[in-house]
């Protein structure tokens, strides 16, 4: 009996020795990230949506860009984090890396959806269509499906570890899509415009870069804050699961011993 309980707790300690350290740092970061995100949204949104100048061609429609572009950066950045976390999990069996990847996926999916929806709302008045199957739009839609596939695959197995591994492999395989998205506008001709960043600098007026960076900062800090919240609840859920399991082990152990 004692042995089985001990084993359960050993597993527990092994699993959480690292997370405790990790969460100590994460919990210290949390109020700063959440506060900064709120501040950047409060300052950035009015500038982006009201006071910043209208574009010489797009007019007021340019304001969609201040949501679309940060969401686009985020959907690729979050996938990058997910891929690195998945690699660290597969190679070094780092449980926190896997947890960060798993907790990031729904956030990445939401950023991708926001990017696609804002882009479509901009495309209709500017291009004359909501959607075209050009390389940039198609590869971004694939990114969205990769996020959904990653979430679904991770939850598809009875054994959570098998789900984690399968999802991590999918995340790594899908990471080839990141350079394709980034360089699609340079490698092929597309309807989507090229990047505003080039060797010559930004092709965006300074008065328009300010709201762009404010919103990007707001999105990044929002991601960090919500990620920490998700990690907290994931760890608590795992603790409850383990406590239940050891409870079951205690209840069943005497019968097994007899």
């Amino acid at each position: 009996m004692g042995a089985s309980v001990g084993q359960g707790w050993n597993f527990d300690v092994h699993r959480f020795a690292n997370p405790t350290q990790f969460m100590r740092i994460a919990n210290a970061i949390f109020p700063w990230a959440a506060g900064l995100s709120a501040l950047l949204f409060v300052v950035g949104l009015p500038i982006a949506l009201v006071t910043s100048p209208a574009d010489y061609q797009q007019g007021e429609t340019v304001r969609i860009f201040y949501l679309h572009a940060p969401a686009a950066y985020m959907c690729m950045m979050v996938y990058g984090i997910m891929a690195v976390g998945s690699a660290a999990y597969l190679i070094w069996r780092h449980p926190m890396a896997n947890l960060v990847a798993r907790a990031s996926a729904p956030l990445g999916a939401i950023f991708t959806a926001l990017c696609l929806i804002c882009g479509m709302l901009w495309g209709q008045p500017m291009w004359g269509t909501f959607w075209v199957w050009d390389a940039r739009l198609t590869s971004t839609l694939i990114l969205f499906f990769l996020y959904l596939g990653y979430i679904a695959l991770g939850d598809a197995f009875e054994d959570p570890e098998r789900g984690d591994k399968a999802a991590a492999i999918l995340a790594l395989v899908g990471s080839v899509n990141l350079p394709i998205i980034k360089f699609s506008v340079d490698w092929w001709n597309t309807l989507h415009q090229p990047s505003i960043m080039s060797k010559k600098g930004f092709s965006v007026d300074a008065g328009m870069l300010l709201p762009l960076f404010l919103m990007l900062g707001a999105f990044i800090t929002f991601y960090i804050a919500v990620l920490i919240l998700r990690l907290r609840s994931e760890l608590l859920a795992a603790k409850i699961r383990n406590a239940r399991l050891s409870q079951v082990a205690v209840n069943h152990a005497p019968q097994a011993a007899e």
Partner: protein
Amino acid sequence: MTRKRRRLYFVLLGLLGLGAGTALMLTAFQDNIVFFFSPSEVAARHIAPQQRFRVGGLVETGSVVKNGENVSFAVTDMSATLKVQYQGLLPDLFREGQGIVAEGRMGPDGIFVAHEVLAKHDENYMPREVADALKKSGRWQEGEGKSTPHPTTATE
């Protein structure tokens, strides 16, 4: 240690193989991934008359003739020009010097009959006054933005 090493190499090799495979595949499908052909490419390829495709380029200055709903204009990539006929609504950004993409078929008379015309936006964002000031000082011209169908990438 060795097992971790082995897993690390396995993952790196896997990614390398996957990347190489994807690169080969994308190169092979190059023609299907490009969203439009430039007028020079259209001239160089023999596209069947009933084949639907897209042509992209700048609307040639002075070529737009509007007659009610019927519009005719020329699309150019600075080395070749293609005449386009279109019936319908044009996007707001459509104007001379603007990058556009038209989808349709070649007519028997060598005029491209478009079913849809999309405007291509470039990566330059600036307020009206800045654009006016730049134009006044002669440092920049509308439609000059390199974004719109580059003739260089079109030759690939």
